[in-house]
Amino acid sequence: MAEQLIASRQATETRRNMVSMTEPDFELFYRRHSRALWAYIYRTTGDAALADDILQRAFFQFLRAKHDSNDDTRLKAFLFRIAYNLVVDDSRERKREASYLSNNLPEESSRPKPEMSWDMQRAFDRLKPKERALLWLAHVEEMSHREVAETLALKERSVKVLLFRARKKLASAMRDHGLDSEVKR
């Protein structure tokens, strides 16, 4: 009896609120975007274990949220937006912790890193979370300004300005470390 009630209520909820995702749909969506999302989280946090954790939480929240569209680009933007919010929350939480204040750089993960990429990571870590997200989405994920704006809840016009500033900051950090000539090779 209770199971029937639960099932009928779930069905009503699904019809009323959202475009539901079946398990095979979700697995396909996960296969398509999980690596890109993990790379984004890993490079914006600098911590592989944290990236695993945030990836799971992002997909979990994504599944629990109400979607009004089945369009893959919009769903991807929505997923990255959840991840971005989680990364920002986590970074605020870390800042509050006294132990984190003594060592402001993210911990080195257990996975080995080539020298250049580690220095590049340090240069990237100098940026604010929003700047890191903007650059990653625009340059690595190759999102348009409109998609970046949608993902980070910004106005399309401000994306251009913020991107310009973030690029300048990253390029200057790279030049300070002598990384600009290295990447051009």
Partner: protein, 156 residues
């Protein structure tokens, strides 16, 4: 900071490592294009150099989300029953308080008769006074035990 908008920016970013001579000359002289190119190449090298490990399992995430949704739904269904149970507890507690408050003089008088020399006599004398109380007491006790039994079953 003034924003320099360059019409060549998109082309230079698209060309990446295969810039023409003219594009290279422009990139060297235009700070917006130069910054964008350096940042772009750096970010791509960062993306390429990731050491991949196994990612969390999609099935587990799906299962967890499904379980949480199920728990939320069943909590919503049980909410009226929980409210009814809380209301019953409140009514029962008030009934206990009224019974005890109304019977306190009788109870004290009854207990006073249990002195050593009057024990048997006092107990017998108290019988007609306490019959009503005993019935109410038994009734409320039965209700309390039933509610407690349900509570224990709920927790299990």
């Amino acid at each position: 900071m003034r924003i320099q908008d360059c019409e060549h920016l998109e082309t230079i970013l698209r060309s990446r490592n295969s810039l023409s001579e003219e594009q290279s000359r422009h990139a060297a002289s235009c700070s917006a294009c130069s910054d964008a190119r350096v940042a772009d190449l750096g970010l791509r090298s960062l993306a390429r150099s990731i050491e991949w490990g196994p990612l969390p399992d999609a099935g587990l995430i799906w299962l967890k989300a499904r379980l949480v949704r199920l728990q939320k739904t069943s909590a919503a269904i049980n909410r009226p029953f929980d409210l009814a149970q809380k209301f019953s507890w409140a009514v029962l507690s008030v009934a206990w308080l009224i019974l005890i408050a109304s019977q306190i003089p009788g109870i004290l008088a009854w207990l006073g008769k249990f002195e050593a020399e009057q024990l048997v006599l006092g107990g017998l004398a108290a019988l007609p006074i306490t019959t009503k109380f005993v019935w109410l007491f038994a009734g409320l006790s039965a209700m309390t035990f039933t509610m407690l039994f349900h509570r224990v079953l709920d927790i299990d």
